[in-house]
Symmetry: C2
Subunit: 279 residues, 2 copies
Amino acid sequence: MKVAVAGATGAVGIEFLRILEERKFPVDALRLLASSRSAGKKLAFRGEEFPVEDLSAFDPRGTELALFSAGSAAAKEHAPRFARAGAVVVDNSSAFRMDPEVPLVVPEINPEDARRHQGIVANPNCTTILFLMAVFPLHREAGIRRAIVSTYQAVSGKGARAMEELDLQIRAAIEGKPLVSSVFPHPIAGNVIPQVDSFDEEGTSIEERKLSRETAKILGANAFAVAGTCVRVPVPRAHSESVALEFEREIDPERARRLLSSFPGVRVVDDPSRSVYPM
Amino acid sequence: MKVAVAGATGAVGIEFLRILEERKFPVDALRLLASSRSAGKKLAFRGEEFPVEDLSAFDPRGTELALFSAGSAAAKEHAPRFARAGAVVVDNSSAFRMDPEVPLVVPEINPEDARRHQGIVANPNCTTILFLMAVFPLHREAGIRRAIVSTYQAVSGKGARAMEELDLQIRAAIEGKPLVSSVFPHPIAGNVIPQVDSFDEEGTSIEERKLSRETAKILGANAFAVAGTCVRVPVPRAHSESVALEFEREIDPERARRLLSSFPGVRVVDDPSRSVYPM
């Protein structure tokens, strides 16, 4: 397959490459794309070096699969060019998620929606994916009526610069120097910040809206109400969520564990008496 | 007033002294007590140095008010001695909280319960106090039916040694050295740990049980159901909580803000569009 990766030099772009390699994805040709600033850099894939090319100047003809994590603005500008040229674009940004023409897909949950794509398939927000992967097997069984979610989100969700900001702040704190914030609105080292993205007039953050709106789109007629409180914590990588679910029908913990254990992509980590739990 | 502080050298003991000073509490005589290990140390109060004495060997006669934060075991052993000698003990540990003879008091919420003491008054768990202070004014108005709480608890809740452990782990991480955990069951630096205290057979932690049981005792006939998920975060001091409330009667956000603003001890920090919120 002829694959292009847009946003290849970002935190997610590098994960794209790592996972393509790990999964032995059938890549016959690979093109790495990023902003003109990053063009000319080189990145390794399967032991070979690949040049990073300018996304704006790139001719998409011949591309079969384009993995985009280049931000919303770049996705809006360039993903349609790739789609028109015959590629299937999988976009990691929020640009097309709520577009009724674009399927919003978690492969383990609604893979059938991907079939009705018109060249672009959107990937949900990270918080939504984690949440749905853990609750969908239970929803299918006992019918979730509503969910209340509080998140513990790592700085990695905001990209490589945010991870660097946490690291620099921790070093500054140890040296007794002032903490400088440019990515986050406040120092994140030694702090929790109940703001992920900006707020609307109701005081709900965009991240919190994504959680409920994307859940509604992915589950369609089977959707349920979700109220989220999204909080950034001083953790480098990996989001956690505390989720309270109200069910239509009874379901006991043992049955819930069995359903979760057998769902692809979910691992149950749950032996609290031995201090075994998700971290 | 003749005051004794038990557990004076601990993280809470030092706060007792700071607050007695800050509030110009009428202290005529002060005795500082701790384990025999700490006896002989000196602590400052109002610019004077006071010796730390051995709690086990201390004769409580003449003490009018004893502020205890010496842990459950020491409280169980020594608080009754002080009470029998005529002192009023305010105990910060969990030793007497669920004892039906001992009032469990948040002064802003159920001060009248303190009047029926028999020498010991218990102070609730920190997580419970924070929670009730923020929801009681709303409960009085609109009747809470149930509450779902997720916490973001600082390491200070586990005492001075836990604060030191976080600090040492952060330094070790920066130097690429292994993180050593002795206070917490896992490294807390760069992590979130969904365990505060140990778990019962149902997988509920003691901290989570305290939240619901203490709420039930403090509110008595007016109590409501509370489900908590208690999580430790790598923050040195100050706990945060994400709380979802279901009410019996309607209450709009503007009314809720007004009720909270006028409640003693509560400050509303809520202007999300300008990135102003509790942290």
